[in-house]
């Protein structure tokens, strides 16, 4: 596994089938996620957003892996940290902030769920919950449906290394291995499940567990967006061709606490976090883009300004939007409401 930074100066993207436009778009998604995150964290500290699940640090792993899927055909089963991934899947910053504020126009839940509990049928993002790794089994079921229907769609499911401790995760790996399902498991290993370090969470290595379930498992640098893309694209292509499931472990780090209610100073040192920030996937990708001449400092500044404007407008629109009306709170318990218990 390559550690640390995106190697510079050489053309790595062409052999991956990526065009310069792809790179710019991937870069924009990474930056959009980062700026959304910084904004939502600030809004939380200002008392305007009760709860935030940060993404910062994971953008390379999420955009790289997400980019390997075909939007409109493939299916995304994300977990709550996947802000960058769901942007790739099609959610807009405005929709993200609708969810942050719990507004009626939140496409994931209409303001019913906490922020970062993503879902959108239109974008093939499967609705998620807070219990860990439940979505991985849904991914297995959807992949089984795709196989029964002889569809060439592929399902992706994302989770942290903590999620690999749940029985749901092992069940999904087992089912996917037995039936050779078109399912790609993506572990964003940031080394901490809230406060519990990987060394107390994972016996052995996450990616090596793949062998026991009869599928390929690889580990790569999640801070390297192109590496994350390459590993996931191989798995997606294999799944689409009928070659079955894969497990990809992308090693990364989260820069903020687990959520806005957590305090990471109780379980990891400031020095460790600062050290990890040196491997920040965004500057690393910027260095690559500069080194191949795709963007220069001027263009970077322009893109950053554009995205900041989009986010400022998104926050404003979401702040001004309506909360859901309590008169709607009984809706959608069932498709056809039975007699209500009084």
């Amino acid at each position: 596994m390559s550690e640390g930074k995106v190697s510079e100066g050489t053309d790595r993207h062409t052999e991956l089938g990526l065009k310069e436009e792809d790179l710019i778009e991937m870069y924009r998604y990474m930056l959009t996620a980062r700026f959304c995150d910084e904004r939502q964290w600030a809004l939380n500290r200002m008392g305007k957003a009760p709860f935030v699940v940060p993404v910062s640090g994971h953008e390379g792993a999420q955009v790289g892996s997400g980019w390997a899927f075909e939007r409109g055909k493939d299916v995304f089963c994300p977990y709550y940290r996947d802000l960058a991934l769901v942007l790739v899947a099609g959610l807009t910053p405005e929709e993200v902030f609708m969810g942050l504020f719990g507004k009626a126009a939140d496409p994931s839940s209409g303001g019913r769920q906490m922020p970062a509990h993503w879902g959108s049928r239109e974008r093939h993002i499967i609705t998620g919950s807070s219990p860990i790794a439940t979505q991985v089994l849904h991914g297995a079921g959807i992949a089984l449906a795709k196989k029964i229907k002889k569809s060439d769609a592929v399902v992706g499911t994302w989770f942290g290394e903590g999620g690999t401790s749940e029985g749901d995760w092992h069940g999904a790996m087992n089912m996917a291995g037995i039936h050779q399902l078109p399912l790609v498991f993506v572990c964003e290993n940031n080394q901490y499940a809230i406060s519990v370090h990987e060394s107390k969470q994972v016996a052995g290595s996450v990616y090596k567990r793949a062998e026991g379930y009869g599928m390929p498992g690889v580990q790569g640098d999640g801070n390297d967006v192109l590496e994350s893309y390459r590993l996931t694209k191989e798995a997606v292509d294999r799944a689409r061709a009928g070659g079955g499931p894969s497990l990809i472990e992308l090693r990364t780090y989260r820069f903020y606490s687990h959520t806005s209610d957590d305090d990471d100073r109780t379980y990891r040192s400031k020095e460790e976090v600062e050290e990890a920030k040196k491997k920040d996937p965004i500057p690393a990708f910027e260095r690559y883009l500069r080194s191949i001449g795709v963007i220069d400092d001027h263009r970077i500044a322009e893109i950053r300004e554009e995205i900041k404007t989009i986010i400022a407008e998104a926050v404003k629109a979401a702040e001004e939007a309506d909360f859901p009306d309590p008169s709607t709170a009984m809706r959608n318990v069932y498709a056809d409401p039975p007699q209500e218990v009084t």
């Binding site: 839940s109 879902g119 219990p131 449906a145 089912m175």
Partner: protein, 334 residues
């Protein structure tokens, strides 16, 4: 197999389940059956006998021995517009799937504000009286009926089983379909050959009476009916209601009956404490207190963790027609 005459065929409950699943598998190729031993074995109770040969391994899926997986994979299938009918081999073993059923299946429509729905059927044999002891006798309805987003039904006759299983498969929401395992071969009845559905949330007055109302479901319904028929020879007429559906719960029928008889009894084999009888009783108290000429009586299981094995202990645990008859007589004479 029994012969059809005049458009009906006499069947027991397990045969009815088998035939209904078979008809629906033929009717809708989106339907898949999954569970432990549902394939080559045809289910431990034979509900899916012959299905693997007829419909193939892609639609009749022997899952690993993992009830959490059965629930979670079924949810995924339903999310991709299949029509999964999952079998949990015994209700007692459903609990590894509890999180998927309660946190996921039940909440997916609500939490997505209607963006996603879940047409999912979860069948499971429940109930005691078969020497099944603690882990093959349990009543699980109270756990699941407590959760909005699920429908929980427990039909007790072959005709109702067919109509309600067909309804469950048609239903756009997750349905826990409870099959009392003692009734599988014990209870026979005429089943219409044609396809029909029975809507959930309609209880059924099976026997009319004026002296007291007795509400039950599953095996207990048959025991209540037997007790009521015995009392009739002594001039005590019990109105017997089969709830059929626990959620949605049809209290209108119960309240109308209590308005007529002025006495109410609920019989269930689940633990009495916080069971279905507690809810029915509370709603009678809320809506018909001043109609009552006596206390609401609940007959339920004692507060021990589950049904014990030895015949003497099982008998002690499970309400039977003799005990129900005694309690009915006491209440009628109150």
């Amino acid at each position: 197999m029994a012969e059809s005459s005049n458009g009906v065929t006499e069947k027991n409950i397990i045969q009815t389940i088998h035939d209904t699943l078979h008809d629906e598998m033929k009717r809708d190729d989106r339907m898949v059956i999954l569970g432990e031993d549902v394939g080559a074995r045809g289910g431990v109770f034979r509900a899916t006998m012959g299905f693997l040969q007829e419909f193939g391994p892609e639609r009749v899926i022997d899952t690993p021995l993992d009830e959490c997986l059965i629930a979670g994979v079924s949810i995924g299938l339903a999310l991709d517009d299949m029509r999964p009918v999952a079998e949990f081999q015994f209700a007692d073993f459903i609990f590894p799937g509890f999180n998927q059923i309660v946190q996921e299946a039940a909440r997916i429509r609500y939490r997505s504000n209607g963006d996603f729905g879940l047409p999912l059927v979860m069948r499971t044999p429940w109930g005691g009286g078969v020497h099944g002891a603690l882990y093959h006798s349990q009543s699980i309805e109270a756990f699941f009926a407590h959760v909005p987003g699920l429908k929980v039904v427990a039909p007790s006759t072959p005709e109702d089983v067919k109509g309600m299983l067909t309804q469950a498969i048609d239903d756009p929401d997750p349905v826990l379909f409870l099959e009392h395992k003692k009734t599988y071969r014990l209870i026979k009845g005429d089943v219409p050959d044609e396809r029909y559905t029975i809507p959930f949330g309609k209880s059924k007055v099976v026997r009319e009476g004026s002296d007291l109302t007795c509400v039950s479901y599953g095996l207990m319904h048959h025991y209540c009916l037997e007790a009521a028929n015995r009392l009739s020879t002594d001039g005590i007429e019990v109105e017997v209601i089969d709830l059929r559906s626990i959620y949605p719960l049809d209290m209108d029928t119960v309240l109308e009956s209590v308005g007529k008889t002025n006495k109410a009894m609920i019989v269930y084999e689940d633990n009495k404490f916080l069971g279905v009888g507690a809810e029915v009783s509370a709603q009678i108290a809320e809506h018909a207190l001043f109609e009552l000429d006596g206390p609401v009586v609940r007959i339920g299981a004692p507060h021990v963790p589950a049904m014990p094995y030895a015949p003497t202990l099982e008998h002690w645990f499970l309400p039977d027609p003799d005990r129900i008859e005694q309690e009915m007589r006491k209440l009628a004479e109150y």
